[in-house]
Symmetry: C2
Subunit: 369 residues, 2 copies
């Protein structure tokens, strides 16, 4: 690795893209579909690649994954372009959402050509799920193919809704409300790297000793835009009384019992750079470092943590130094997207009690700047 820049410049200076979300990688579209009430609290999120597909990669680091179409992403295997990634609630049942996404893409003529007619395509749709079973009251209220279709129909190139929507509708994190977060970064050379993460870990997103969000220090200027009119506030350490109150609630509201914790954080990292399938795999791998900087513990036996990469190839292939910067930033957008998910999450009533958002439990963590 060698260049005419000073050593410090190995730390890439980046700014968020126009929407600070994964659709800043041009050509990608995001759609959510979820259902709440009458036993339901779950949903599906789809990230649609451009029609020709994007080079894909995946890394599964959790001990309890629920996935499909991940083996084909091994760089030694044939297919290198994927047409969509499905993120869904519903545990392994929710993998059915990908059936609907495949139907939608097939109808649009989008897929891997493997017949004699142009219409004879197989859409390549990797998927991963989070555990949210029973959070709306009914264990069997899980996304099916119709959720995948509806998410595709809702997909757009606009900034996706963040918080407790889509695959994040039923998400929780350490007793608080989880959800969907996204963030983007534009490198000095113009390359965009972005992530969309569904945050639902068994571990904590806050330091239990201080109440501070673990990943907060990775935030860039502008990342608090998820807070609307409070975007200019400063995020810090909450008052000790709020920490004591949260601790007391944890003791009493769960009846002194540790609930059965099954969890999982999943997501997609995207870039407009041209990457090989092996490089896309490496990007997904280093993305997990970004989760580790926002969630503790992560990748446990109770998490099925899985990250995908989509590389659209609109920009050139990075050289050695540029790929180093891309990897560095890939991890950081994952951390930022994770924190933004937690900040965008909204508390809600469930059949087993209220799930508070982080800012509902720790309002003093956010102070006028």
């Amino acid at each position: 690795m060698s260049s005419a820049d000073p050593l410090w410049a190995l730390d890439p200076q980046v700014v968020p893209g126009p929407t600070n979300s994964i659709v800043d990688v041009r050509g990608l579209r995001v759609g959510h579909h979820d259902r709440r009430g009458e036993g339901w609290l779950t949903g599906t999120t789809v990230v649609l690649a451009p029609p020709e597909g994007a080079v894909g990669g995946v890394d599964v680091r959790g001990g309890g994954p629920g996935t499909r179409e991940t083996d084909l992403l091994d760089p030694v295997n044939q297919v290198d372009r994927v047409h969509a990634v499905v993120l869904s609630g519903g545990s392994a049942f929710g993998l059915a959402a990908a059936d609907g996404v495949m139907r939608h893409l097939y109808a649009a003529g989008c897929g891997f050509p493997c017949g004699t007619e142009p219409s004879e395509v197989v859409p390549i749709v990797p998927a991963a799920v989070i555990f949210d079973l029973g959070r709306g009251g009914e264990f069997t209220a899980t996304p099916d193919a119709s959720f995948g279709v509806a998410a595709c129909e809702a997909a757009s190139t606009g900034a996706p809704a963040l918080g407790s929507v889509g695959a994040g509708a039923g998400a929780e994190c350490g007793g608080l409300k989880g959800g969907v977060g996204s963030a983007s970064a534009v490198l000095p050379d113009g390359t965009t790297v972005a992530a969309l993460i569904v945050v639902n870990p068994a571990g904590q997103v806050l330091d239990l000793r201080t109440g501070e969000l673990i990943g907060a220090r990775a935030l860039l200027q502008g990342d608090l835009d998820v807070l609307g009119e409070r975007a200019a506030y400063v995020l810090g350490r909450p008052d000790p009384q709020e920490l004591a109150a949260a601790r007391e609630r944890a003791r009493t509201e769960h009846g002194g019992l540790v609930p059965k914790v099954l969890a999982t954080t999943i997501g997609v990292i995207a870039t407009d750079a041209t990457l090989t399938k092996a490089q896309a795999t490496k990007v997904a791998g280093i993305g997990h470092d970004g989760l580790a900087r926002a969630i503790d513990p992560v990748h446990t036996m109770h998490d099925g943590d899985t990250l995908f990469t989509l590389a659209t190839g609109e920009r050139p292939a990075p050289d050695d130094l540029a790929f180093h910067g891309l990897l560095t930033v890939a991890a950081r957008v994952v951390t930022r997207a994770t924190v933004r998910a937690v900040l965008a999450a909204e508390g809600c009533e469930t059949p087993t009690g209220r799930r508070r958002s982080y800012l509902e439990a720790f309002p003093s963590a956010l102070r006028p700047g």
Copy 2:
């Protein structure tokens, strides 16, 4: 996962063990051997298992690894006990140090039995190396088998020396001096989890915006004992002038060029719990989250980051909840050992200029408590 503890108790309350090092896992011994001057600045560290071996695991996450005997650690393969782990400088040349460790163990009758006589054993000695070539002046001054033998002969059950010794003699981190760190944790049930890490990353151990050590918040009371009489000091954010000075040095001392950065952080996580080979692999995997919380970026294409696990089995096998705690703490001891390596490192003169330690570059980060 379910127990009679409140939710908060999923966060394991731990204290460092008696030596706050990997030898708190009873039966393990650590030995260093290094050579400095006349072109040399490198060395070897060996972690010796008890004579019967320990259940081993490994996870390689860096993009440029240098390893041996890692394939046998795949849980599908036969051998499940390893007799030593070798950590060495010298890049792939340094793998030769393991030859000496094998000879030493063979002479002691320690190894996998595979002949008709008790003496006919093959010692199982996985190894990983860091890139430190040429840091003492001579590219070819690398550890050989004699370093492995000398490290074995120096091994003891006492607290190992930390800092720029053994495999960490030539270690650097982001332009500062790296080295060897170790830390241990005793869980409430009495299980010990510990780590020994050779810190030599391409990435930074400090937040370049503030100068603060990234992993500092993971430190436990007592972890500053590596500082001797300053053990009661408090580690925090250094003065901005020191940050500006470091930035200026980076600009001028390297002549405006990014040096060719090849690096690698390696280490061993150990526990006295009884683990399967698959569980030991998982422990090594989650240990990399601990590196991510102390080093940014980590696991790059210029790092061969590799972590091993040794489980001595002196204590019972953990149940589901206990294993969750063990994994959580495994990541945290890796972070603590990494920070302790940086704090124990000592600046030194090299043929290409002085390598400052973190505390030499940022003395104000440490203040009387």
